[in-house]
Every structure is written in C-alpha cells, then in structure tokens.
Amino acid sequence: MKAYLTRRYWFAASHRLHNDRLSDEINRETYGKCNNPHGHGHNYALEVTVSGPVDRRTGMICNLVDLDSFVQREVIERFDHVNLNCMGEFSNVVPTSENLAAHIYDLLRSGFRHAHVEKVRLEETSMNSFEYAGGAEARH
C-alpha cells in the first residue's frame, strides 16, 4: 500500500534578490523591494513529502527519526539563521524561493535513502509557497 507522508519544518533566513548580470535599474524593476540592498528575511516553512509502501510490521513508510535527523542535518542546519546570498550554492543563482525549493529537493533526493522523496513545498510567507518535484507534476 503506497502512501505519502509529509513533515513540516521551519527555518529563518535572509536573502536579497539581485542578479549581477542585470543592471541595477532592471534588478529594481524585476525584484521590487526584494532587491533592497541590505536584504530581508523570512520564516520559511518547509514541507517534505516522502512516499513508499507502508511496512507491514512497523506500519510506517519510513521512521520519522531518520527523516527528521536527515532534514535537520542537511537542510535546517545549513540554512537556518544564515544569509542565503552568502552561501556557495547561491553565488551564481538568485536565492528566490523557487531556486531554494529546487535546491532543497536535490539535497534530499540525492541523500535520503529511507523512502522516496516525492516533493518539497516551501512557504516563504503564509501568502506564497513553492513546490518542486524534480520537474515532474506534483501530486495534489
């Protein structure tokens, strides 16, 4: 029986949306107040969805302890209370939540071995969120 399990995590980070390859004027026009030179921050909520058959003995898709420790180590410790623009992964990539969601998906997909990583959903604020499933259509 295949089921989908979603766990929600939190981290706080700052960013500035700015593309060095564009003029200051175009950056301001494109990113608006997100282009403010000193950056700004969000409390991000991250939803990680994993899928797989439910183990007959344990009743679980995967042990939450394994998922929590992996996400904590690979995502939360990396991105919580940092300036995203200062991270190596965003030296040439604008740290929009689209790019951050895709990057987190790749981190999880390449490292987590206890269940299939289906998708990530990243809430930048309660009013906007971004989903990435490796380029595939995310299931709703």
Binding site: M1, K2, A3, Y4, L5, T6, R7, R8, Y9, T49, V54, R56, R57, T58, G59, M60, I61, N63, L64, V65, R139
Partner: protein, 141 residues
Amino acid sequence: MRNGNLVYLTRKCEFSASHYYHVPEWSAEENQKVFGKCANQNGHGHNYTLEVTVKGSIDPESGFVVDLKDLKEILNREVLDVMDHRFLNKEVSEFAGQNPTTENIAIAIWQRLAGKLDGARLHRVRLYETPDLFVDFYGEE
C-alpha cells in the same frame, strides 16, 4: 450548467484518540529503539485532523458534487463514532494486528469510506497527526 466538469470537494473533521506502537515479535529493547516514546504501552494521544477529498461532476439539478449532509453522516458513522476518544490499539478492529500509525489509520479510513459515497469518488484521505505531520492516501496505486 457545468455538467461534466470534474470538481474536488474536501470535508474536514477532527477526532482525538490515543495509540502506541509495538511489534509483538520484537523485544522490548528493539521496540523502544525503533519507536522511541511512541512505544510506551500506556499510550499517548493526538488531536487528529482528517480531510477527505471526493471528486465528481456537478449534478445539473442539485449543483452538488456530493450531498454534504450525506458525507458528514458517513464520516460520523464510519470514522468519528469508531475512532473519536478511543484507544486505537485496543478499541478499533483494524489495529488488533497492525500498528495504528498515521499511515495505517489513513488507509483504514480510506477502506471504511470507499464505495460508500453516492455519486462521487474518493480522491484522497489526508490525515494530520499534528499540524507538522500528515499522511496522504489515494487508494491502491
């Protein structure tokens, strides 16, 4: 007139129940190692939130995908009357031989609801154990 258009409708309800996790073939130490504090046999509880999504065409006369009154009655009878304020391991038959994990509860709810909805098909059962943890089940894939 929107006859033929597929519409998804979600109804939400809540129930409170207790449970614990245990595999009888395993030693107490092994259960403790795998399930941690969920292995305490006296149980612990959650306020579960259940979202049931059905899909179907809009009936041209009633304008409904499904009669919400009927859906509410089915949810009350099949889920809330059975699981609300119960110790799932001891009082709900599905969990006599398997752990009442969020995964298994979502599947049990799907199986209790499937085939009982007039005019609409069950699309998804989403069960929140806490606001930060939920399981989705779409039937056998």
